[in-house]
């Protein structure tokens, strides 16, 4: 199934009647610009008909779903899906996204793990005052029942990291019929996951893959009951006032090193937070704030990150992301134009190392800033790029806000209480836990189920209905 010497292999949409190949296709290149696949882009009419089919399909029952999800996750990570073995798939994702193949490998295992645990994960989100089934004895004295807010769920997926596709499995587990619009940057992961779920028996009319161009993208959202959309700040702003859309924007994850903490002891965690996942995830650290002199931290970080090797993404030892040269140069220019008055501790001579085949490694950058509220500290770029700034309690918590994950070393109880209470900080890691630490059941940006479900009041009398006690 690899492209081999022929032309690019087509990647079909997966509609309610099976795979669907269109005339309108988008070429997906690898990091050298070589075409890898032609993605079938479906028109609006196909979107409408697919969503109508999803709406008509009854949900699978929970036991069946649980088995399907676990089976599919396993097949996705280790099996042959749609004729493609797992290693061929990982190689392809690595060549197209420029993500180190080891990162892809970990992400696929993460997806399989999440698929196995998905019922536990959503159960963690269920309010304690609710039951899952109306025949639960508790409904006789009156309680809440946890129900879906709609039937059809849509995802505008991101292509930065395969791991993002673990999340929408929760919607499936809750009985949502789901439409996934893949990113044209990396359609392979959702295509493989949808195919694996179909091969495991989810039902073609319960889960569809709808690649579209941007003119049709909004039709998926307006046709679904609820949607999850990944994007930058413009996307977040666009949907801010739409209660049916949940956005996943830039993470701007941060680490705070409080006074009295030993930077050397925290260094390992800081390095990992910046550079694991090749620095491409929203949970990677964008800024490190130091109560004290930031220079030694920045220097030590620079020294450690400088040692990371530049390798092609499919190399098992690769740890840094690879982009096409033009895109890499554009990012480099953008970074170097925006360092402001910062002291560039790493990457000042450029962050691009060309591999000679049209692709280039994005090498780490460490920039030291002179104040906690420098605006650059919020600049999240898709490679290990970190801003190190001084912070003092007098600066308040403002520099720590708008953060997906905040790891705090030290700090007094009053500070921790304030950070936990701050709504724009979505996860708090205390002590030696990197910002990219995740586990099923622990919310990532809230539980997705908080958005997908609501509690409905229910009570029944002893004489209600022809049914017997369940």
């Amino acid at each position: 199934m690899e492209a081999g010497h022929g032309g690019p292999i087509p990647l079909d949409a997966l509609g309610p009647r099976g795979p669907h190949r269109t005339r309108n296709r988008q070429t997906v290149p690898d990091v050298t610009g070589r075409p890898v696949t032609e993605l079938s882009l479906v028109p609006r009419l196909f979107v409408q008909r697919s969503l109508a089919a999803l709406r008509k399909a009854p949900p699978l029952d929970a036991d069946e779903l649980s088995a399907v999800l676990a089976r599919a996750g396993e097949a996705f990570a280790t099996g042959t899906v749609g004729g493609v073995p797992a290693d061929a798939y990982r190689h392809r994702v690595s060549r197209v996204t420029g993500l180190p193949v080891s990162v892809v490998h970990k992400a696929t295992e993460h997806i399989a793990h999440c698929a196995r645990e998905v019922f536990h994960t959503v159960e963690c989100a269920r309010p304690r005052g609710t039951v899952s089934h109306w025949q639960d004895p508790l409904t006789r004295r009156g309680t809440g029942i946890w129900t879906r807010r709609g039937d059809v769920f849509a995802v505008h997926a991101a292509g930065n990291h395969p791991g993002v596709h673990a999340l929408w499995l929760e919607a499936l587990a809750l009985g949502y019929r789901t439409a996934v619009r893949p990113s044209s940057r990396e359609p392979f992961t959702p295509q493989r996951l949808v195919t694996a779920l179909r091969e495991s028996g989810i039902g073609d009319d319960r889960l569809v893959l709808l690649p579209t161009d941007h003119t049709v993208a909004d039709d998926i959202i307006s046709g679904a009951d609820l949607s999850l959309v990944y994007g930058g700040d413009p996307v977040v702003t666009k949907y801010r006032s739409d209660p049916t859309v949940l956005t996943q924007g830039p993470g701007r994850s941060k680490i705070l090193l409080c006074a009295g903490e030993d930077p050397a002891a925290a260094l390992e965690t800081i390095v990992a937070s910046v550079s694991e996942e090749a620095g491409t995830a929203c949970v990677n650290t964008t800024a490190v704030l130091v109560d004290g002199d930031p220079a030694p931290v920045a220097e030590a970080l620079a020294e450690r990150l400088a040692a990371l090797p530049s390798l092609p993404p499919e190399d098992d030892k690769a740890v840094l992301p690879v982009h096409p040269v033009a895109g890499a140069r554009a990012l480099e220019k953008h970074l170097l134009e925006h360092t402001g008055g910062g002291t560039v501790r790493l990457g000042g001579d450029g962050i691009v190392e060309e591999l000679g085949d049209g692709s280039a490694v994005l090498r780490p950058a460490v920039i030291q800033l002179d104040r906690a509220d420098a605006p650059q500290a919020g600049m999240e770029l898709p490679f290990p790029c970190v801003w190190v700034a001084p912070w003092a309690p007098a600066d308040g918590i403002a520099p720590l806000t708008n953060t997906l994950v905040l790891t705090v070393f030290g700090g007094d109880e009053a500070l921790i209480e304030r950070l936990i209470a701050e709504p724009s900080i979505r996860n708090i890691h205390l002590g030696d836990r990197p910002t990219h630490w995740m586990a099923p059941g622990v919310p990532h940006d809230g539980h997705l189920a908080e958005f997908l479900m609501r509690s409905k009041g229910i009570v029944r009398s002893a004489t209600a209905g022809p049914w017997r006690e369940g």
Binding site: V42, P43, L45, F46, Q48, G231, G232, G249
Partner: protein
């Protein structure tokens, strides 16, 4: 005056004039002081060539400047050739969509309307479209030529039309201002009206636009009604991408003849979709009155057959002359049918706009 009319401009439907004879006669007609329109006679003074001497073939029409923008403010009376005498039979004045500022206006003369409609009726007969049918036209009427032409087509074939009117300018305005919800409500309002007619009447021919057809296809009930009653769907007025066309033909309306018209007010009518081609939507013009070429907008040169380029339209008839009009449409250049002047076109689409490549911050 009638003595001045060259018979080659007035041939009965079905007889195709010799191209060069036709061009020569048309140039004489439009640029002779006795027969030409006030507009063209005046405009000719600013041309650096003499149409009667220098325009001998269809290719020579490229000598003309594109004058369609001048039609926004020329008095319509000045566009009527003097050769029609003092009381020409003007069916109406029709306007372009009006997306970019003031609309362009053209007069529709009765002889051209008859000629065009009998040509349309000819191919509808060939394709076995129902005769004597009740048509439902969910299309722009009023200032737009389409409504008038559809009424004439239905009548010519023993039928009659119910209309649901719509104002495409309002829809475009809504979309341009980002009020997509309002455009959506308007479409729903239009479709709801069409539903009444489809429900209660024995509709045999449906005429509408691709976006409305798509909107209609969202309702299972409407799809059933159309499949039960309608034998031919004629679409036009907007682009239809090949994948949507394929779905409509194979999945949504499998038993209904679906065919497109590629029209423009600047050719006072439309071209018809060639029959029997599955993988592309090819439009053939009403030769020699309407002719196409497909050019590379950068070089102005014709592209090769099978290549894409921008569409240039010529309208040349006794009733009017609108040559060398570069439309804002892209199409694939297709070899003409035997005896046809110029090219046919396929898979017409709007000129695309490209996203800029600025760096967007964030990892997604």
């Amino acid at each position: 005056m009638t003595l001045l009319i060259d018979p080659v401009l007035d041939l009965p439907t079905g007889r195709v004039p010799d191209p060069e004879e036709f061009i020569a006669a048309a140039m004489r007609w439009h640029f002779s002081p006795e027969t030409g329109s006030p507009y063209w006679l005046e405009r000719a003074r600013t041309l650096d060539f003499d149409p009667r001497r220098d325009v001998r073939t269809f290719a020579d029409l490229r000598l003309f400047p594109n004058v369609v923008n001048e039609l926004r403010n020329v008095p319509v009376r000045d566009l009527v050739p003097r050769g029609y005498g003092t009381s020409p039979h003007i069916v109406g004045v029709y306007e372009s969509g009006g997306t970019t500022g003031a609309p362009k206006r053209v007069p529709l003369l009765a002889d051209w309307a008859d000629r065009f409609v009998s040509w349309c009726a000819g191919y509808m007969d060939e394709r076995g479209h129902p005769r004597g049918a009740h048509w439902l036209a969910v299309i722009p009427t009023g200032p737009h030529i389409w409504g008038e032409m559809v009424a004439r087509q239905a009548r010519h074939r023993g039928g009659f039309v119910s209309y649901v009117d719509l104002d495409p300018r309002w829809v475009k305005k809504c979309l341009a201002e980002g009020r997509t919800e309002e455009a959506e409500r308007y479409a729903a309002h239009v479709i709801a009206q069409a539903e009444f007619v489809l429900d209660d009447q024995d509709i045999g021919v449906l005429v509408t636009t691709p976006p409305l057809l798509e909107r209609l296809a969202r309702s299972e009930r409407l799809v059933e009604l159309v499949n039960d009653k309608v034998r031919a769907i004629i679409w036009g007025g907007a682009h239809m991408d090949p994948d949507t066309r394929d779905l409509l033909r194979t999945e949504v309306f499998p038993g209904v003849q679906l065919f497109g018209q590629y029209g423009s007010t600047m050719i006072l009518g439309g071209m018809v979709e060639r029959e029997g081609i599955d993988d592309a939507c090819v439009f053939d013009p009403f030769t020699p009155y309407v002719t196409f070429s497909v050019i590379d907008p950068e070089s102005g040169k014709e592209v090769a057959h099978g290549e894409r380029g921008q569409v240039v339209m010529n309208f040349v008839s006794k009733s009017g002359l609108l040559p060398n009009n570069l439309e804002r449409d892209l199409a694939t250049r297709i070899a003409p049918l035997p005896g046809q002047i110029g090219d046919s076109v396929a898979d017409v689409s709007p000129v695309p706009s490209f996203d800029n490549e600025a760096v967007i911050e964030g990892v997604y």
